[in-house]
Point group: C2
Amino acid sequence: MLTREQLNILCDIAGLDHVLTQKSDRICYSYDATQQQFLPDVVVHPGTATEISRILQFANQNHIPVLPRGAGTGFTGGSLPILGGIVLGLSRLDRILEIDEENLVAIIEPGVVTADFQKAVEKVGLFYPPDPASLKVSTMGGNVAECAGGPRCVKYGVTKDYIVGLELVTPTGDIIRTGGETMKGVVGYDLTKLICGSEGTLGVVTKIIAKLLPKPEAKKTMLVLFDSIDGAANAVSAIIRNKIIPTTLEFMDARTLECLRRSTELDVPNSANAALIIEVDGDIEFLDKQAEIISESIKALGIVDIRIASTDVESEKLWEMRRAVTGALRQVRPQIYNEDICVPRSKVPDMIRKIDSIAQRYGIPIVNFGHAGDGNIHVCIMVDISIPGEKESAEEVVKEVFSETLKLNGTMSGEHGVGITKAPFISMELEGNTVDYMKTIKKALDPNNILNPGKMFPSDVNS
Amino acid sequence: MLTREQLNILCDIAGLDHVLTQKSDRICYSYDATQQQFLPDVVVHPGTATEISRILQFANQNHIPVLPRGAGTGFTGGSLPILGGIVLGLSRLDRILEIDEENLVAIIEPGVVTADFQKAVEKVGLFYPPDPASLKVSTMGGNVAECAGGPRCVKYGVTKDYIVGLELVTPTGDIIRTGGETMKGVVGYDLTKLICGSEGTLGVVTKIIAKLLPKPEAKKTMLVLFDSIDGAANAVSAIIRNKIIPTTLEFMDARTLECLRRSTELDVPNSANAALIIEVDGDIEFLDKQAEIISESIKALGIVDIRIASTDVESEKLWEMRRAVTGALRQVRPQIYNEDICVPRSKVPDMIRKIDSIAQRYGIPIVNFGHAGDGNIHVCIMVDISIPGEKESAEEVVKEVFSETLKLNGTMSGEHGVGITKAPFISMELEGNTVDYMKTIKKALDPNNILNPGKMFPSDVNS
């Protein structure tokens, strides 16, 4: 607990209206998508980088943890105040400061909602590709902290590929600038990319310089239902072999389709055991040619049905199947452990088979869907924790899924990060020396372990 | 100087044949493209990461600087042994270990020559885009250390955009692995991108995992001569406004064309004051359409001549003009200070005007060419150091060019790095706090300052 005097200092820095101490207020900042809950001692909503700098200096002097927080949509607990302390809400820093149409860059504050940013740049014919599922709620600061991905990343890359500069308050309260507005720059270390995906442990982002693209003229969406997961996986390979990198290559496995059949009115043929949503974008004339090449290259791969959208409305209809997944799953089991492993693209069918076998062995249903184009599978382990022993079994399942992922040269997380949920497993993926190199950086930059302590690295490592 | 006993230890580690102590041998490792020279005490050519690890441990125990070296083609002295010590030649680590056609990744060693790597992947229909001018000589390890660029980067990005994993010997001799073979991965800090462009100060790269693309089907090259630099700059904007990001957008300014007129037989009309080489690649049918859109969008911008290649041979002919530049410049003045500033794309004409005015004021000819698409200008300050006072004037010119670059929100280096030549100027671009953040990382990871000491940061900062 902070003393009255300490709270007064925070009020002096951020203003009385921006310091929340009531329990009812603090509860709103105690959870995220992990459904875990930790109550912060105080929530502060600073208005400037200078205020954040002063808060961090104060926190260092008093050894109080500081937890930067965007919209709290993370799946791994990156914003949870597991040790209490100060939640630093960044929602007041929500301005789009500049969209430079000539140089295709934008300068924004971290509290800008991702979808709002996308809409703003699209209004002037530009394009910010990363599209995490949470984009209507999540903020750009959170996206940078976690290096958010999304379906379009197979063609366009992830958040860090679009971040070229940052303003950052360091863990000890310095305000620094990294990168800049130029498309190239090699003066000093690339701190920008180091910060992207560092999960709020190395600094508080207060300004973001993002690279933009011209908005593609049009898109074309296809939904293809296959009789086997191998058919879908081979389709992915065949498309890329034909020199097409689609905007999205989303897949759903047999169990996902089964859930959709059971819980929705959608037309999912019984013989379909896998689905791909393939979207291409670009020049309008060229799209038809691409669609033809795709249809031709996958036709021998056990197609049950192929549906091609000609209009935006039809495209939205095809996407309904993918969007209905989360809702459909919730009807099967009350809790879902949502993992986001990533394997080399060609290993997706092997991985699905391994997961099926784990699911069978433990008697816990697991459905798989996600981004086949980059091998990023959302493994949904469906749990009912009211069944005795099921929670423990599910935890074993997670561990086995990670273990099989790593055997296939994969990673435990393609998008969601480590946070607290994957921290206990980090040493399965990273060797001790590699973790030590990271820890050395963290310790040097945050000697008092103030910023997001206990996250990413196992707690013994981080203390 | 190393003692006989110390040299024996190195021979024990790397083998007698791989330790060079003769002055005649050491001279070969004493210089790079800066034309500066510093003699190392010894040159070692290790054969494995384990040997490198042992050498670094030995160097830490004995406080001997270690300078990893690729092909020595750098422009900023990144591989120069300015304090003597051990040059670590990486040429024996020259294997292409794997090209995974299914997953579009390759695993290579740092001593592989960039062009050889490109040829190897192109043989199987794949594509590694970064194309520094030195690619026929420079090695992938050096490209990673400096984050090499090249003409194609405007469309495809720079070296770090293609490096997804590394094996690295840390400054203290640990062997670590960063990233991996997956296209996404957010477990721990992104050490891979931190190492790219860190100029050999944070570790010795011993293995590289590179992302590949499908090789574009064809390309189309256009050479456009304009009556003014504004015409060329507006053309760049117009092309991008038409949603085309060409593979290359190389420009040459009036003074560059003047040099070509004087020193070559090439057909450079007198009324041409700027040139653009525009290349697009991709689907063969689509290229004609793109060329049409480009021609149409730039036709009102003061075109003196437009030449379009239909075959590879014709394309090579158009590129001759760009390739002849370096040779032509050498005929004008004996020394060239080759800077590589980068400004926001739209600021290129402003920058060229500023440079012209500096050149006039000091009476030193400066020619500008480079990558207009990303605002990366190769500023060639042409010096004859036999003229009394000219060296000093040229140094003032460099400083003024940097100063004007920074006023336009640019950077001192888009491709070449800091090394020793730009280290004295780093505080013009980076604020003290930012340099401190970088220094903190360097100091934590290399407490004895063994790896490439005195590079990047001003010497007082690095000691």
